[in-house]
Symmetry: C2
Subunit: 259 residues, 2 copies
Amino acid sequence: PPRVLTIANQKGGVGKTTSAVNLAAALSQHGLRALVIDLDPQGNASTALAVPHAAGSPSMYDVVVKGKPLGDVVVAAPDLPGLCCAPATIDLAGAEIELVPVVAREMRLRKALTSYLRTAEVDYVIIDCPPSLGLLTVNALVAAQEVLIPVQCEYYALEGLSQLVHTIDLVQTELNPELEISTLLLTMYDARTKLADAVAEDVRAHFGRRVLDTIIPRSVRISEAPGFGQTILSYDPGSRGARAYVQAAAELAAAAVSP
Amino acid sequence: PPRVLTIANQKGGVGKTTSAVNLAAALSQHGLRALVIDLDPQGNASTALAVPHAAGSPSMYDVVVKGKPLGDVVVAAPDLPGLCCAPATIDLAGAEIELVPVVAREMRLRKALTSYLRTAEVDYVIIDCPPSLGLLTVNALVAAQEVLIPVQCEYYALEGLSQLVHTIDLVQTELNPELEISTLLLTMYDARTKLADAVAEDVRAHFGRRVLDTIIPRSVRISEAPGFGQTILSYDPGSRGARAYVQAAAELAAAAVSP
Ligand SMILES: Nc1ncnc2c1ncn2[C@@H]1O[C@H](COP(=O)(O)OP(=O)(O)OP(=O)(O)O)[C@@H](O)[C@H]1O
Ligand SMILES: Nc1ncnc2c1ncn2[C@@H]1O[C@H](COP(=O)(O)OP(=O)(O)OP(=O)(O)O)[C@@H](O)[C@H]1O
Ligand SMILES: [Mg+2]
Ligand SMILES: [Mg+2]
């Protein structure tokens, strides 16, 4: 069965979208079929994959709020064989309010994904979330078996982690017993920042083997790529950033096979 | 009357907290009395000002959800004369749900702030928001007369701006006719990033004179300061980052006097 990972962290700007997009691209470059589901109304993952997502166009809003089949909104990411995307539009910003009266509103994505995966040929599903622990992120946590937490190597990064772990525990107990925090990825590591090493050590002390060995460096090239509608692997394949994401994806894939 | 500014942008990690804390510190260094209200459950602004904010301690949760007077939770920021803080605790994460049935739930902060300002001696109130456009941010937009939008000089920064402007317009029409986007501050500018200038130019083209001339550079020292419970002005007063925030605060203060 396909692996379904949610990329979650309510702290903003820690590299959720960048990790979702570049890990998926690296996996698809190695012949695996990957689907990125964009659940952030800002649609940054859709932008990074050059998938149109103007307001009103088919998107995850139709799936989560209107109950449309996921297959109706999935599109191939241009120039990225093996990689598809279910885009987000700004309409998704209304989902939290529109779903308040709906029964089983936390299960909307899980239901849509389960029926999609009955026929679709996908190895990895990666769900990008907004920077909050609201209903959209909860839908992603209910739909996935694994959570990947990007942790920025800066001081504020540690503050939100216990709240995130607490929310994941809650979802696991009440809504999705299979859910586990399988992976943490250290991002935007800048050796010049005092504390970067302290943050990395602290995270490894708390989460042990779940923290990937690969650390993503802070790199200007990574932040330029979305401006050209490209992943870092297409934009600058030889860069430190691209190599780090390829290595992280290989580690992630290898972790799947070991018991 | 005091100026009340809300620092808002639903894009994560763009420098909302860093700008709230360092602008307030720079204003208080010039003899103005400043209050930082932390409305983000993660409590990053409280951390940066070294104000304790363990779960359950007096905080903005008591004010917004329990109706406690704001004066009961305001504390002096240690070592920063003229600067006070109303801290946030993790309890605030439940506010959106707990306030769903409450009448006039968008006005909770405004009511608390209005009665506090009847007796308190404050020149600037700066409200830090979480990276979302939910009820906490709406409370901040209703309580303020001005919005300051930090805009990170990176590609994704532009995507969320129109949604933010739309939400502010809505709050202005429905809840707070005085509200205006008075200020935009360009942050984390790194001349090496190809698009940084393009983002800055685009923002100036859209928002004109509301964009401060001062641009905050990306600087490792800025990101280190919160790890020591200090603002950049205390941590490294001679740094580019500290000078930029002092200059931005001076520009902000000067803008108040001109018609
Ligand atoms: N390793 C890196 N080096 C340099 N810049 C990076 C790196 N990773 C991400 N960025 C840039 O930092 C910013 C934040 O990253 P990104 O948008 O992926 O974070 P996010 O967690 O998805 O943010 P949000 O909380 O708003 O969803 C973006 O401008 C992105 O291009
Ligand atoms: N000018 C700067 N140069 C370098 N690092 C910065 C700068 N401004 C902020 N930072 C760092 O970038 C990260 C994001 O900044 P900050 O937390 O202030 O953003 P935010 O918008 O408040 O985030 P959130 O959306 O989570 O509330 C922090 O680790 C902060 O220390
Ligand atoms: Mg994102
Ligand atoms: Mg913040």
